[in-house]
Amino acid sequence: MSAKNLPQTAAEADIETGLPLDSDAPPLSAGYMTWFRFSRNPAALVGAFIVASVILVALFAPLIATHPDHVGAVVDFRNRHMPPSADNWMGTDKAGRDIFSRTVFGFRVSLLLVIGVLGISVPVGSALGMAAGYFGGWTERLIAGFTNVMLAMPPLVMALAIGNVLEPNLTNAMIAITLLWWTWHARLIYRVTRSIVSEDYIEAARLAGASHLHILWREILPNCISVISVKTTLDAAFVILFGATLSFLGFGVKPPTPDLGSMVADGRQFVPEMWWEVLAPGFAIFYATLGFNLLGDGLRDMFDVET
């Protein structure tokens, strides 16, 4: 849709389509149009709200947590395994630490993992995918072949193997997941690039003497941005889930740092009598993955792309 015939203010827009009522109206920003479509999708709004709240809770964890000191190696044996109460909203764990406070801090580890994994694998995967789709030939065969190999590998088994070769901690979990993750982006961006590489405007840029780098950066990448952002949002959910599973199996951060997966693993030993020990961290994992999933689905509908 060209920016020319868009309404400038919401009041001038048709309530159903967002198109201008007055065709002579001055242009409206593309950003507004995008927001218009997004704001009419309740699931996406809920997702955006959840994601925002997860980020805020992680950022301001020391202010939100009722017992910020319980994040460290605190032991309070008189209060161990206490059910939820006014003082400990989500009960206490086997060392008498406040589970609510630890869950709040647990979001930090999850988000760090997301940033670390996607911060590397999205640019690398996208660059390789674009290169494979644009250059074709051997570049294509090599990258496509390698991604096929990675696909046959159960990611969890692989991450466990890598995580164990190195010492199990957050950084190494991040490395293990990143090594597997970029292939998915590479595959996706490869498909998108292939579908647009023979378009006229790319041919035109080439005829005008544009360099490969210019074409990749200025012509192809902008076409991939919407797909990348949808995929990255959905991936954030999977990384949280995956990281929680890894740390549930004992490949997470070192204790006493709170981490949602290992908190569930710790609490599991005392289930079913002390059900609250898995409740808060378990719900936190669900909450965060749900948020990123809803937001990602909403973005996909908004941009109308396939991932």
């Binding site: 696909l151 046959a152 590998m153 159960p154 997966g261 569930v264 289930v271 898995v278 749900l290």
Partner: protein, 343 residues
């Protein structure tokens, strides 16, 4: 001739898969050899003398160049010798033979659950698009996708503990029943062969929760894909033609649409297999399921290299076999797939 055209693309894919398996094994082999810590020392324990360690290193061929070691390993592996596990002290192959059937049984029941729950649910939600059935079905599949399987597993255990105290939540079969020996190691099949209804029912009870926990994420994915494939195919010209001819809705859905719309979910199920095997590690751990994944987890934790190699290779093989089966099924139900695979 017709038979050949059917088998050829599958052979081509098989060749591709074997390449994948080779590269995969090389990667894991290299990875396993950069493990800090001497495998020979790990096997013998801290009290072994320097000479004993050196002797075992020589025996395990650890002083050879890595590629020589790899070629030797693969040569032996092809003859069925996967080496000895340092934790169990037995040949890895007989360990696997003991542990694999439990996982195979779990995975097969899981896939069965996925198919019988997800595909009908996908069809149902597509037919009632944007109505309450659709919305609750979509919510259900969203929950399946967002909740990790270890939470499902724990949740099901909690449910059983609180509401069905007699329902078994650990192990494969009640220890008081002596399960029949052989021939497959799959309790469901063995108990039928031996005519043991008590074992069959008990094993089925034990299977229900682990299989459900393992199936949930796949159910979520497959339901979504089936739904969108049904909706997309409803708009195809030939479906509109059938409809305008007055073909009853039920016939259109079950004779034509379902077949057409099962291609995408089947393909996804093949890809899902990789994460299914991964999640089996978690589910087996929670339910005390003495299977292949539990074995693999121990191997990884103990840096038991031969066992680790075997676990990775067999996981890869699992994935490959599953995808080949799906390829065959696809080429039966959708002739276009044959040409696609050949191209």
């Amino acid at each position: 001739m017709r038979f050949l055209s059917f088998i050829e693309p599958i052979l081509a894919r098989l060749a591709g898969f074997i390449m994948v398996l080779l590269v995969l094994s090389l990667m894991i082999f290299l990875l396993a050899r950069v493990v800090p810590g001497d495998p020979a020392r790990m096997a013998l324990g801290p009290s072994a003398t320097q000479e004993q360690v050196a002797e075992l290193r020589l025996e395990m061929g650890l002083d050879e160049p890595i590629l020589t070691q790899y070629v030797a390993y693969m040569g032996r592996a092809l003859q069925g010798d996967l080496g000895r596990s340092i934790t169990s002290g037995r040949p890895v192959l007989s360990d696997i033979a003991d542990f694999l059937p439990a996982t195979l049984e779990l995975v097969l029941v899981t896939v069965f659950l996925m198919v019988i729950i997800a595909i009908p649910l996908g069809v149902l939600t597509a037919r009632h698009r944007d109505r309450w059935i659709d919305n609750s079905g979509r919510l259900f599949s969203l929950i399946g996708v967002t909740i990790p399987s270890f939470l499902f597993a724990i949740g099901l255990q909690l449910l059983a503990a609180n509401f069905f105290p007699d329902w078994p939540i650990l192990g494969r079969v009640d220890y008081r029943l002596s399960p029949p020996d052989g021939p497959t190691g799959l309790l469901l099949i063995d108990s039928i062969v031996h005519g043991r209804a008590d074992v069959f029912l008990d094993a089925l009870q034990h299977l229900a929760f682990p299989a459900l926990a393992l199936a949930m994420s796949g159910i979520g994915q497959v339901t979504r894909i089936t739904r969108s494939a049904m909706i997309e195919n409803q708009r195809k010209d030939h479906v509109l033609t059938l409809r305008s001819f007055g073909v009853p809705d039920r016939v259109i859905v079950f004779r034509y649409l379902l077949k057409l719309s099962s291609v995408a979910p089947l393909t996804i199920m093949g890809l899902e297999f990789a994460s299914l095997i991964g999640n089996a590690f978690v589910v087996e751990m929670v339910f005390g399921w003495g299977g292949f994944a539990s074995y693999g987890l121990t191997a990884i934790l103990q840096k038991d290299l031969n066992a680790l190699m075997a676990v990775v290779l067999i996981s890869g093989l699992f994935f490959i076999v599953a995808n080949l089966v799906i390829d065959v099924v696809l080429s039966v139900i959708d002739p276009r797939q044959r040409r696609r695979a050949a191209a």
